[in-house]
């Protein structure tokens, strides 16, 4: 119980979502009726946030590019959904059914995470990216061709829908659990080992970090929560169709992580919520003939934000108008002037505020030497 180390700002996301959950839970218990569109939006946002936060662990903190996150979600959705559909006749559409399906889906996805984690030990950068993409497509293809009796094949797997008045609360609680596990992992010594591997694998090895173990752990945790999101999805829908989980979905999750800023969990959460909001609201605003504009808007917003956030030429401009930096300055001087020299605090800050070009460089070479060593074949 070392409360000195406890920093409110590090857990601000947790508390904001927690308070939101409690308020909504209280309102629900007092029989307030929310419009369905709000409930569906909350469910979708929660699923996206879980996916983005879990992917952020692999992409932002371990520094490996994964394009198959939807594949883990697919495994979770199908297995969780199947278990739920078998349990409902026996146990009813109740909380135990929900929890058991959740456990099955999460464990199945975790096993897949371990399987994909193994090539990850051997492959780097783009090679790993394509393997994860391949994994996602393989999973999709397998579920697509199952028989009607097992997973429904092309007709989709009919799954029980959970009561929609409560599912979004469960979803929010799962978001909190995801955040608690992932953030605590990142800020623990294990998390520091993971970021050390990202920053320099050989140096990490040299200091005695078990690279194999930590890479596997990161992949498994990430996959587990993708599985959780999958089970959640299966409860929010009445038919699971494998075509949903194609590589475009994986890319969408990756976009959330990157837009939010690599290794910045708060950013990922905001980006996930925002993109989901856009994706679900644009079709309701741009109806009829305007529908063709959705993708155009989405693409333009994406390109502009990424260039604005990352272009080296705009760095000075960004620094001048950066809101978060301003806030950080204020916070530091007011509350905790000593934190700069506090080693532990430094560790906590560093992983969440990495400069973009240090992250995910395919080479193990420091960024300033990156170009000279880059060869055609890379790694």
């Amino acid at each position: 119980m070392n409360l000195k180390k406890f920093k409110f700002t590090h857990y601000i996301n947790y508390f904001v979502i927690g308070i939101l959950t409690i308020v909504l839970a209280v309102l629900t218990m007092t029989k307030t009726v929310f419009p369905s569109s709000f409930l569906y939006l909350m469910e979708k946002m929660s699923i996206s946030v879980i996916l983005a936060v879990s992917l952020s662990l692999v992409v932002g903190f371990l520094g490996e590019l994964s394009l198959g996150h939807a594949g883990f979600m697919c495994v979770g959705a199908y297995l969780g959904g199947k278990v739920a559909s078998m349990l409902v006749p026996v146990m009813g559409n109740s909380i135990p059914t929900f929890l058991i399906s959740l456990a099955v889906g999460a464990i199945a996805a975790a096993i897949c995470g371990a399987i994909i984690g193994i090539p990850a030990l051997r492959l780097r950068g783009d090679y790993l990216a394509i393997v994860t993409l391949a994994f996602g497509e393989i999973v999709k293809s397998i579920f697509q061709n199952t028989s009607d009796a097992t997973f429904g094949g092309a007709m989709g797997l009919a799954t029980p829908r959970f009561s929609k008045s409560y599912l979004f609360l469960f979803a929010l609680v799962l978001v909190l659990i995801t955040l608690a596990v992932v953030q605590n992992f990142i800020r623990s010594k294990h998390g520091r080992a993971v970021t050390a591997i990202r920053d320099n694998e050989i140096a990490a090895k040299a200091t005695g970090i078990n690279v194999t173990k930590y890479k596997l752990i990161a992949f498994i945790i990430s996959a587990t929560f993708a599985g959780v999101a999958g089970v959640l999805y299966s409860f929010s829908t009445s038919t699971i169709q494998s075509i949903t989980f194609d590589y475009n979905y994986s890319i969408e999750i990756l976009v959330m992580v990157v837009l939010g800023g690599m290794g910045n969990i708060n950013g990922s959460i905001i980006a996930a919520a925002l993109i989901t909001f856009l994706n679900t609201k644009l079709p309701t605003i741009l109806t009829g003939d305007l529908a063709v504009l959705q993708d155009l808007l989405y693409a333009l917003i994406l390109i502009v934000i990424i260039i604005y956030n990352n272009a080296p030429a705009l760095k000075n401009f960004r620094d001048r108008v950066s809101l978060s930096k301003l806030l950080k300055k204020l916070f530091r001087h007011k509350n905790d002037p000593s934190s700069i020299s506090d080693d532990a605090a430094k560790w906590d800050v560093v992983p969440t505020k990495i400069e973009m070009n240090e992250v995910l460089s395919v080479d193990v070479v420091p960024p300033d030497l990156q170009d000279p060593s880059g060869k055609g074949g890379d790694d």
């Binding site: 391949a134 393989i138 293809s141």
Partner: protein, 290 residues
């Protein structure tokens, strides 16, 4: 024999198309160190350009315009979307490329609407080869692919510009010190890649003349896979990977039991190959330095 020959020719011509697209991926990767996810959509743009200019009933003009338009588009995309991000994280560039891909697809949807367009570039029949009917378009694809590969290899090996490209891919900083215009080289690379994509679009249309705004997406992904199998950054690797993938696809589609799993099989082969050779068939192994 008949089965063997048709599968062989089919596989080779599909593989040739994949190889041509994979070349674009691999060259851009080798020189700009980025995965150009929008590459597949350049194919689509090429297809639509051919469709538009086929109104003149002159297929050669249409092909020429497609190549020209794709080259200009490729250069523009590089200048507007990718160049500002040079020096930024590879992932930021990747996401921008994805954004460009969505942008091209949605523009195509707005301009050409959703109904698919069927484009017949050449009226080609099939010929008899050892008593087996073979599509002329497949043979043509094969021939052009071989020519393109040879020309490209010679170009890179024996011209100043080609050697400058190798230099840039080996070591950007040193190349700049030697007086090579790195930005110019990157532009040339994008131009060549886009021209190849336009040609690939032509051959895809000859195989399957239905044009929609996602026309290039799956061939793009498959070609990316091919580039990785062959070793990304390596030009002969791209050819090898493309042809291997083309064969696998054609053979798998032949066998009814496994036909629905064609994708899964192709991707499984990729994973297996990468597990045995982590940098693909011809990818360079590099020792890790600290």
């Amino acid at each position: 024999m008949e089965l063997f020959l048709t599968t062989l020719i089919n596989g080779l011509s599909l593989g040739g198309i994949y190889a041509m697209i994979a070349l674009g991926y691999t060259m851009v990767y080798g020189i700009a160190k980025m995965l150009n996810f929008a590459h597949g959509d350049i194919i689509m743009v090429g297809g639509y350009t051919i469709y538009v200019f086929m109104a003149t009933k002159n297929p050669f003009l249409a092909i020429f315009m497609a190549v020209l338009f794709c080259v200009i588009l490729g250069i523009l995309i590089e200048k507007i979307a990718y160049k500002p991000l040079r020096g930024a994280s590879p992932l930021a560039v990747l996401i921008t490329a994805i954004g460009v891909s969505y942008l091209l697809q949605s523009l195509a949807l707005i301009i050409f609407k959703s109904a698919s367009k069927t484009v017949t570039v050449f009226e080609l029949k099939s010929v008899s080869l050892f008593g087996v009917p073979v599509q002329i378009s497949a043979l043509l694809t094969l021939a052009v692919t071989v020519v393109v590969m040879v020309v490209l290899t010679l170009f890179i090996k024996y011209t100043r510009l080609g050697r400058a490209m190798i230099a840039v891919s080996e070591d950007k900083g040193a190349a700049q010190l030697m007086g090579i215009n790195v930005n110019g080289i990157i532009t040339v690379t994008f131009a060549i890649g886009s021209a190849l994509a336009a040609l690939a679009g032509l051959f895809l249309l000859m195989r399957a003349p239905n044009l929609t705004n996602t026309f290039g997406a799956m061939p793009g992904i498959k070609a990316f896979t091919a580039a990785v199998i062959g070793g990304i950054g390596s030009i002969p690797g791209a050819m090898l990977g493309g042809i291997l993938l083309g064969f696998v696809e054609c053979i798998a589609a032949k066998i009814t039991v496994i036909a629905p799993y064609t994708d899964a099989i192709e991707f499984s082969i990729l994973i297996i190959i990468l597990l045995v050779r982590p940098t693909g068939f011809l990818g360079k192994k590099r020792r890790e330095k600290v």
